[in-house]
Subunit: 399 residues, 2 copies
Amino acid sequence: MGSIERIEAVAQKIAGFRARGDDVVVVVSAMSGETNRLIELANDISGSPPPREMDVLVSTGEQVAIALLAMALEKISCPARSYTGAQVRILTDDSHTKARIEEIDVHRMQADLSLGRVIIVAGFQGVDADGNITTLGRGGSDTTAVALAAALQAEECQIYTDVDGVYTTDPRVVDNAQRLERITFEEMLEMASQGSKVLQIRAVEFAGKYKVPLRVLSSFEEGPGTLITLEEGEDMEKPVVSGIAFNRDEAKLTIQGIPDTPGVAYRILGPISEANIEVDVIVQNISEDGTTALTFTVHRDEMKKAEDVLAEIAGDLQASSVVTDAHIAKVSLVGVGMRSHAGVASQMFGTLARHNINIQMITTSEIKVTVIIEEKYLELAVRALHSSFDLDAPDSVEN
Amino acid sequence: MGSIERIEAVAQKIAGFRARGDDVVVVVSAMSGETNRLIELANDISGSPPPREMDVLVSTGEQVAIALLAMALEKISCPARSYTGAQVRILTDDSHTKARIEEIDVHRMQADLSLGRVIIVAGFQGVDADGNITTLGRGGSDTTAVALAAALQAEECQIYTDVDGVYTTDPRVVDNAQRLERITFEEMLEMASQGSKVLQIRAVEFAGKYKVPLRVLSSFEEGPGTLITLEEGEDMEKPVVSGIAFNRDEAKLTIQGIPDTPGVAYRILGPISEANIEVDVIVQNISEDGTTALTFTVHRDEMKKAEDVLAEIAGDLQASSVVTDAHIAKVSLVGVGMRSHAGVASQMFGTLARHNINIQMITTSEIKVTVIIEEKYLELAVRALHSSFDLDAPDSVEN
């Protein structure tokens, strides 16, 4: 929620649902800028504030928002009650700043719903078994919403965002990208992990696990949004590819001329993992001289750190060289339709070849094909693939 | 606590107590300006925000402060834990925005103290039996501190303020006012209710009731402050008068020519009370013609409202007139020494007479004599009485 005006608009929307006869439980995050303001206060005091106290601090952001929304609802004669995570009781483990929900007590909420009250719950926070305030990590409000929907067996969990749904790809790159009516949890997870920032991955995982239908909608305009469900939607002819995800946050590192012996991948990736660097795509090639090369990608911000780790290992392994490349991009085709359709990968490679785009790395999963290409070809590749897999909006020619 | 610098200074002070071997429980209020900022947010949304939600909102001010102070302590290697009112559990009744403390659970605090941790508690807040967040009303942090000291049987409860102690009178009016080494709860209560703003009245009441020695100190400079205790301090020659309190917040209303019959005071003050106007001093005189006049004082802001109420009553009672005066001041001599010393009142009246100050109303209690005078004589009266009752600092002549 951004401002007082936004809070009042949200209250109007909620009152509309109530007037329709729906029971409503609302999860809110902090007003925009508030969480950052609180984090700055902490940083002014300490370079490494204790996580327990960070949670006490930042959880106030949502607490302010729930009180204000409850006030806005009461003002328009819509009975409402705000609850902090501890009040609900959203029980979590004790991993401060990145806690996981273990159990939700629904009795108090159900009693309020039966009295006709709207329930406003602070997102992103809970309480551990000892009564300490915990937070689920940034963006955790989506997870709170899904968990509450599961616990209350809600008909639908609606997530209001700054976009009006999930698209076949980023409309900023492909003009005629289409909003998807529906998408499966699996596809959504692949889209999210490949760079589509619409929803938090953990929220989608949670929704899939507890079979909570999830709908992504715009906070600012009316519309059906995108429904994320378990089923593929039997009534419609499912396209082979549902969407194209991409990102340019990664960098590539290759260590060459290493012995092709068992355990060598572990000797390289073990120290990378110990340095808390997350690795995404990994490819190992065999060369003819009995040595091999291992290539992997990491977040671009961590390339230098990964390079330093590799430099040490390279000496031990008598590697011939370490090569890095920050100018790469990742493009993924995602779709449950791939399971039953052969040839998606080859159609993808053919499309890229026709545009003279070289493929540097390839990985595949049951519902995804991912390639790493030179960054400058990213937009071209996404547009060509979007068109090649019939994802362009039907009226795109007229537009 | 005002700013980050203040928080760090407070942390240093606390670490000093710990280094001395003291167990420390700290009660903090919100950073300066924060409570007002939150109240403004609420007012932007609603003219009459629900009290329950006001408490959810404003209690975040202290929650931010406890987290920051705990961080500042941990940073200087002083183990600390912050607790909200609900976490402690400070159980209150359910009167939102003006709740009263009913019970304090000390187990968690005692466990933390035995582990060598400093405990930081959010002042001004608690939780009702249903788990709703409550607040004690503005300035309630003093009350929280005293209540915790009583529950934990603390040796002393120190209240840090912007003054360095309790003075014989306001040093802004009398240059050579003296800081009192000690004062009794009764005297402090009379001083507070007569306009001395050093401490919240409820906090002093609480401290007296539970016999918690209370020390008022400056947050900004070193010094012993003023100790407020049950005993009068047998070792020292107790002066007859401990201090002089005054205020100019009141206005006087007189209704004249009313029948001198039983129940007439009730017929006048009943409607005043129903209009939620608080009355301070009340005096009734008998005149010779069988009618009487009733005079009372109210807060100056409420004079107009009280006048309107009286105007209605005046008709019913066939009163001859209603007279108001906003230019009055109240001056009180306070001291447990009065109990055993006759003549305090007559010395007071004599002093005022010598300065040609007319006394409009008089009330007395066992340890207090109060007069209402014309406002313009206030400073003169206070200085004359301060000198007459030997309260001037010994070195005042040299200064």
